[in-house]
């Protein structure tokens, strides 16, 4: 499977990072992500999942080791080019939606990148269409429901047509219906997706590869079906089996 990844989109080599001196939140992480991969990053609270995602978009650049996004090193000078290629969806949609209307919010990035207003409009419409919320176009962001906010946040990054989508805990605060809807939409995208979550059922439904981290280290990297059914591995790292496997894991043990 690995040989087929002709395009390596992201590589991390020996990345170590801490928010403060002498503190190491991520320790010696080496990973690579290829085109169209669907990767879940799992780990207990505080494991360093969000931190890892934030490093990929260059929100913190004072890490040791190196990170490359499509051959571009993640450095201060390159951030604008990198962020054109990567879309990052925040855990808290309210952080992402800060303009008054959905339209203006989705238009924020393309306008910053200097596209003409016609092009901006085309991109906004396309982005909204992709997550099936064209009808929310002129709505005020504070009035959206949790599920609508999540979809609108996704649209705000799609308007830059990124190659890579990062999502931090996308399923938090979604009811079952919105959750199913989100899974369907995500599975329709052809991008390289990296989803950080401790909601293993959600990961099961959206990812084919899983990376388990604990205390800032990669514990295991492999196919979702393998890792997500390994009760012992999960429990020794502060996680629990996906709900659907509890009590009937024997079905999958073969």
């Amino acid at each position: 499977m690995r040989e087929k990844m002709s395009h390596i989109h992201i590589t991390l080599s020996n990345v170590t990072f801490g928010y403060e001196k002498n503190q190491k939140i991520l320790k010696d992480i080496t990973l690579s992500f290829g085109e169209n991969e669907r990767v879940g990053i799992i780990g207990a609270n505080g494991a360093g999942k969000s931190t890892l995602l934030k490093l990929l978009v260059g929100l913190y650049t004072d890490f040791e080791g190196s990170i490359r996004v499509e051959e571009i090193p993640v450095e201060k000078k390159m951030l604008s080019r990198i962020r054109e290629k990567i879309g990052y969806v925040f855990q808290d949609s309210d952080s992402q939606l800060f303009m008054s209307t959905v339209y203006d919010d989705v238009a924020f990035a393309p306008r910053n990148y200097g596209f003409s207003e016609e092009e901006v409009e085309r991109r906004v419409n396309e982005a909204l269409e992709a997550v099936h919320i064209s009808y929310l176009r002129d709505r005020h962001t504070y009035k959206l429901s949790g599920g609508e906010k999540k979809l609108a946040s996704i649209a705000t990054i799609l308007s830059m047509t990124p190659d890579i989508i990062l999502m931090d805990e996308p399923s938090v605060a979604l009811d079952p219906k919105n959750r199913r809807n989100l899974i369907q939409i995500l599975n329709g995208f052809g991008h390289l997706k990296i989803i950080a979550s401790h909601d293993l059922d959600f990961i099961m439904d959206t990812c084919s590869r899983v990376i388990l981290i604990n205390h800032g280290r990669v514990i295991k990297d492999g196919p979702a079906g393998e890792i997500l059914t390994d009760k012992e591995l999960l429990e020794s790292n502060g996680l629990e089996l996906p709900l659907r496997f509890t009590g009937r894991e024997s079905l999958f043990s073969s």
Binding site: R83, S95, S100, N112, E117, H140, M160
Partner: protein, 272 residues
């Protein structure tokens, strides 16, 4: 609803009205800002005894409220916190200035009373004009207009962000207070022992939120230092009718300033 929720609600409502599609909303923000500033300058420039001239300036808010059907009651409700300050502004004038200017019926009117009244009216008109602008123009559009006036982009961005920060802070405060109230039943307000830690918590939380918002702006190509290319909202194309609106109010207000309309009308009535 408690006071905080009410404040959040009012802000949201205001924003919704500002972003609505009324006829006043669809005028280019730039023109509205120009006329508002022009109006305020002219209003403030009246002589302190020229109360009749000043009264004529009331036509502008009056006409706007009427033809654009902007709810007047709601306006009063919203600006009522400021009104006492307007009243206080000239309150000492009657004591300081006892010149007799004329008489009203059988009572003598001193210069102080007149100048107090003009001061209050100036304040009121200014507030009304500002209100009319805010209620019909979204903050992004106002910022866009300010940029057209070549206000430095960093200042305009600050205005926009402070505006966002206020509602963020309000919401965060509301959350914290609710959590507090749920665990301190039957208590009115916050016990003063908890004040310090609550305020600290609030500051930290809202700063966290603000930082997240800022990060999400940066991730989408925002760059404060590159400022001049930052666009807040779609350009509004001015229609010929909009230019007429600008021209009419521009000259109309100026004539109100130099022609004492009320005095003329008054003297015609007295003669007739």
């Amino acid at each position: 609803m408690n006071k905080l929720e009410n404040a959040v609600y009012e802000m949201n409502l205001l924003e919704e009205q500002a972003g609505g599609c009324g006829r006043l909303n669809s005028l280019p923000a730039l023109f509205k800002v120009i006329i508002t500033v022009w109006y305020i300058l002219l209003t403030v420039s009246f002589h302190k005894y020229d109360i009749f001239g000043l009264l004529g300036m009331g036509i502008y808010p009056l006409v706007l409220f009427l033809i654009y059907e902007i709810p007047f009651r709601q306006c009063i409700k919203r600006i009522k916190i400021i009104l006492p300050f307007l009243l206080l502004a000239g309150i000492a004038n009657p004591l300081l200035d006892k010149n007799i200017l004329g008489s009203l019926g059988n009572r003598q009117v001193s210069g102080g009373v007149v100048s107090m009244a003009t001061l209050m009216l100036k304040g009121l008109f200014t507030v009304l004009a500002g209100y009319l602008l805010i209620v019909s123009t979204s903050i992004e559009k106002i910022c866009g207009a300010l940029r057209k006036f070549h206000m430095p982009s960093i200042l305009v961005t600050m205005i926009l962000l402070i505006y966002r920060y206020i509602s963020l802070l309000l919401k965060e405060t509301n959350r914290v207070m609710q959590a507090y109230a749920l665990r301190a039943p039957g208590q009115k307000g916050v016990g003063f022992k908890a004040w310090g830690s609550l305020a600290g918590l609030l500051l930290l939380r809202s700063m966290d939120r603000a930082e997240n918002v800022y990060e999400s702006m940066c991730l989408r190509g925002f760059d404060g230092s590159r400022g001049n290319s930052f666009q807040y909202t779609a350009e509004q194309k001015a229609k010929p009718a909009d230019y007429i609106w600008l021209l009419l109010w521009g000259t109309g207000l100026f004539s109100l300033r130099i022609v004492p309309l009320l005095t003329i009308v008054g003297s015609l009535l007295v003669k007739g």
